[in-house]
């Protein structure tokens, strides 16, 4: 085998290993509330926020609320302020992990406007 092709194989393998490692480190499963106690890592948690439980401290910009899915309820703390569409969100995806029975969200996805939206709202007018 030529040294060139050996170098190529080594490089490809190293790249592959690196990619797989990055893949595993950044993969975050979607879970249900009932599964939270089993998983000790960062997860995606789709929730329906219960609007009457929402508390927002304007001084510290900390948002706390309870969210539920079909398997249960969980309390969520989100330190980055209230996302723009939060009050009207029917579904959010919080990204973070459980600590001491409270879900600490690092990030939150609330559906945002895009050019692909519109139809379901039409019916409401």
């Amino acid at each position: 085998m030529k040294p060139g092709s050996i170098a190529m194989i080594v490089l490809v393998l190293a790249g592959l290993a690196f990619t797989v490692r990055a893949f595993i480190n950044n993969a975050s499963p979607y879970v249900k509330v009932a599964q939270l106690s089993e998983i000790q890592r960062e997860v995606h948690l789709p929730l329906k926020p219960l609007q009457q439980t929402v508390q927002f401290d304007i001084k510290t910009m900390t948002l706390t609320f309870e969210g539920e899915d079909e398997t249960g309820k969980v309390k969520v703390v989100y330190p980055k302020g209230k996302p723009n569409n939060f009050e009207v969100a029917t579904q959010v995806v919080v990204i973070g992990e459980m600590k001491d029975g409270v879900f600490h969200a690092r990030d939150m996805l609330v559906k945002c406007p895009s050019k692909y939206q519109g139809e379901q709202q039409t019916a409401q007018k």
Binding site: A27, Y30, K82, Q117
Partner: protein, 791 residues
């Protein structure tokens, strides 16, 4: 709009006619006239549909579902026209429109390839028209039950305000110009495999491949600018599925165009170019499926509408059919494709570097493809959806960009034939010195993180090396500069993206009315709002409201005007943020709301039923009774609470009528002044319980009752964003130059630079294995440059 349906069906029938006639014209060449007229008919059908839609938008035909959903009377005419691509149906129509335009050009320029390439291309047009027939932009607005008094509606539901900007007018047409162009290389690849001709087609497809890559590139850049200018999260690119689905076709097409270069110049990559030319189109259809079918709805921050079932099936047919056709034809022809003469290229040559480059481009495309699809893949195999964080792409692309930058820097200095290590190092020295100098400059400017600095130096190396190549070519008066210019632009843009993202400083600045806040070296002070400022009016419902905040440091002072708007017509996705960007040559100050502006106050509250009376903090409030004014439920309707207020220090009690009024911006309480300067308003009311909560604000001696605006701002300082704006235009100019240059090659033949490249080595015929293969006719002679000229 029957005429809308009519033109689409007319176009679809013409497209069908064209495809059938082109397919049959191999035996009877007279049919080709019919085929051409058929395609022109299909084109006219698409143009007609777009014209009808534009007419409907401009004249306000709000009885159409599409016009009602995405347009409104208050839009400017240009914006009304742009709302043609605000929704699914309209963007399919835009896709079809570009596809039609390219089809006409293709028909005229395909020469001897016309029959084959137009059969494949016409099928794409036919399927697009099929989707439009089932998911029509001309569908009538369904009449609700019970029917409203005014029907059809006199105004539309309206365009989403976050789309109402200049980018909406230019970005979709341009990115769809790129998406639609993907069908041309696809059709050529299919045609080449079908026809069994493997040389002429690369010359013909090359300008298209360059054009497609260029248009997709500019589309991506414009999308990034749009996100940065209007979305308020302070970045250009976020590895969102919607972005990725235009990223991986782009990279694959870029890989393909380099593959085509290799084949034309060195006779290599003959077997792989078909896949590289055809797959990007399939990838784009797949991406359209991902983003239009709603399968990724939970993963993306964008929201998606599902397509109509039948339209979705056509899209799936396009995806499956395109993939099966490509792979099937390719496997069928694989053995008969000529291999290049078995001459090993020197290890240090442009040929080898290009091969590595193609490999890296495909690799990045595949990683993004798999990453974007991972939620689906994991769900299919394990039942649990697993998403990838955007940081995955950043991590993977760090070593990737190092390798890619090295290749990009070396490529322009290399010759096809190859050179020794000493020679290439000598040629690269100047560029490398300039890059290292840039590195030092960045280091002393404070950009010191080692990995980022390394990548920055390498990107600077790309820029200087390619500039050097351009300089050499300008002096020796050669005009093939386009490619180098695109790489200069790419190097600059990626450098800008890297530095502005990695060294961005982000801070939350909560500005409270009447208080100065210090942050990021500036003093922040709330000034006022240009809209309806007075509490408790609701300036958030005023689309043109600007929140003015004064920003001052010791030597400068300016006003930022970020905007926040709550679109009252929508119950979802109704908050719109417009950031304010202050630009200096070396950095941007990016100011955006991260939450709605809020009112902070602790009013004195008194809850009373009708005829009740209570005293708090000296104020005695008596709720005398409800009254109403205006038409119930409509704008201007007022719910009035007749009230008597008294205070020991006043001469006599006053009777006031604070009320809540229905406006376009919701139900707003209107306060009434009291003799001591305080104000009373109706905070909440429950008409069925005959109950009202009164609030006293601006009470003398009680500053906490003064309502104050709290303005939650996210502020980014982003260095060197200017590079992000500087790079892409260079890339576009380079790409268009190269397109024109290579389009000339199709007519006049591929020039061979003197002393640079020998003509491609004669392809070696692979002896086919198996009985069946031996019976096949011999391959046509590969076309030389001269033969291309003739055809």
């Amino acid at each position: 709009m029957l005429i809308g349906y009519g033109v689409i069906w007319f176009g679809a029938i013409c497209a069908l006619l064209s495809v059938v006639m082109y397919a049959l014209s191999g035996r009877r060449s007279a049919l080709i006239r019919w085929a051409r007229w058929g395609f022109i008919g299909a084109f006219l059908g698409i143009v007609g549909a777009e014209a009808v839609l534009q007419y409907a938008l401009l004249t306000g035909r709000y009885d159409l579902q599409y016009v009602f959903s995405f347009s409104e009377q208050s839009l400017s005419p240009w914006m009304k026209m742009a709302s043609a691509w605000a929704g699914q149906e309209g963007s399919f129509l835009l896709w079809a429109l570009w596809t039609g335009i390219y089809g006409l050009i293709l028909m005229r320029t395909a020469g001897g390839y016309e029959r084959w390439v137009m059969t494949a291309y016409g099928t794409v047009v036919l399927l697009l028209l099929g989707i439009l027939a089932y998911q029509s932009p001309f569908a009538p607005l369904p009449k609700p039950d019970p029917a409203p008094p005014v029907w059809p509606p006199q105004d539309g539901f309206g365009l989403n305000p976050s789309l109402e900007n200049v980018w909406m007018k230019i970005h979709p047409p341009i990115i769809f110009a790129g998406f639609a162009a993907l069908a041309v290389p696809f059709a050529y690849a299919i045609a080449s495999l079908w026809r069994g001709e493997f040389h002429e087609w690369v010359v013909r497809v090359r300008p298209w491949a360059i054009y497609t890559t260029t248009m997709l590139g500019i589309g991506l850049a414009l999308g990034g600018y749009w996100a940065y200018e209007t979305l308020g999260w302070g970045g250009f690119w976020a590895w969102d599925p919607v972005e990725n689905t235009s990223y991986f076709p782009w990279l694959t097409m870029a890989a393909g165009l380099h593959g085509v270069m290799l084949q034309i110049n060195r006779g290599r990559m003959v077997r792989w170019n078909h896949l590289l030319m055809a797959i990007p189109f399939v990838m784009f259809v797949y991406g359209t499926f991902l983003t239009r079918s709603g399968v990724l709805a939970e993963v993306s921050v964008h929201s998606f509408d599902a397509l109509a079932k039948s339209a979705l099936w056509i899209l799936l047919a396009m995806l499956g059919g395109g993939l099966l056709l490509t792979v099937g034809l390719w496997a069928w022809r694989y053995r008969s494709m000529p291999l290049p003469a078995n001459t090993q290229a020197k290890p240090i040559s442009r040929e080898v570097v290009l091969k590595w480059g193609i490999g890296l481009l495909v690799l990045s495309a595949l990683i993004s493809l798999v990453g974007t699809s991972w939620p689906l893949i994991s769900k299919a195999f394990t039942g649990q959806m697993v998403a990838l964080q955007p940081s995955f792409y950043n991590q993977v692309h760090a070593p990737w960009i190092i390798l890619t930058a090295l290749l990009l820097a070396a490529a322009p200095m290399l010759t096809w034939r190859g050179m020794t290590l000493d020679e290439i190092l000598q040629r690269l020295t100047k560029g490398w010195m300039a890059a290292v100098a840039t590195g030092f400059a960045l280091f002393f400017a404070g950009f010191r993180e080692p990995l980022t600095l390394l990548i920055s130096v390498l990107l600077a190396f790309v820029v200087f090396s390619n500039l050097g190549a351009i300089w050499r070519r300008v002096r020796t008066s050669k005009v093939t500069l386009g490619g180098f210019l695109t790489h200069v632009g790419l190097g600059i843009a990626i450098l800008g993206l890297l530095i502005s993202n990695f060294y961005e400083v982000k801070e939350r600045v909560v500005v409270v009315q009447g208080q100065d806040t210090m942050a990021l070296g500036y003093r922040w002070r709330y000034l006022d709002m240009t809209g309806n400022e007075k509490f408790p009016g609701d300036p958030l419902a005023d689309k043109f409201n600007r929140v003015r905040v004064e920003v001052a440091s010791h030597d400068e002072k300016f006003i930022v005007e970020p905007r926040f708007y709550q679109d009252q017509r929508r119950t979802e996705n109704n908050n719109v943020v417009w950031p304010h960007i202050v630009r200096w040559w070396n950095h941007d100050l990016y100011v955006a709301f991260f939450a709605p502006p809020q009112v902070d106050a602790s009013p004195i509250t008194i809850r009373l039923h009708e005829k009740e009376k209570a005293t708090k903090d000296g104020y005695t409030v008596e709720f005398l009774g409800f009254e109403t004014g205006g038409a119930m439920g409509s704008e201007g309707f007022r719910a009035i609470a007749r009230t008597r207020v008294s205070h020991p220090e006043w001469e006599k009690p006053v009777e006031v009528e604070p009320f809540r009024v229905v406006t376009a911006g919701g139900v707003i309480p209107i306060p009434v002044p009291l003799p001591d300067g305080s104000q009373i308003l109706v905070g909440q009311m429950d008409v069925s319980q005959r109950m009202v909560e009164f609030q006293m604000i601006m009470v003398p001696g009680k500053p906490e009752t003064n309502p104050r605006w709290v303005i939650p701002l996210e502020v980014y300082v982003k260095p060197l964003t200017i590079l992000v704006w500087l790079g892409p235009p260079l890339t576009v100019i380079g790409g268009l130059l190269a397109t024109v240059r290579r389009a000339r090659d199709v007519r006049y033949g591929v020039p061979r630079a003197q002393g640079e490249t020998p003509p491609p080595p004669a392809p070696r015929q692979v002896v086919p294995r198996g009985k069946k293969a031996r019976l096949r006719r011999p391959m046509p002679e590969p076309l030389s440059a001269k033969a291309v000229e003739k055809s």
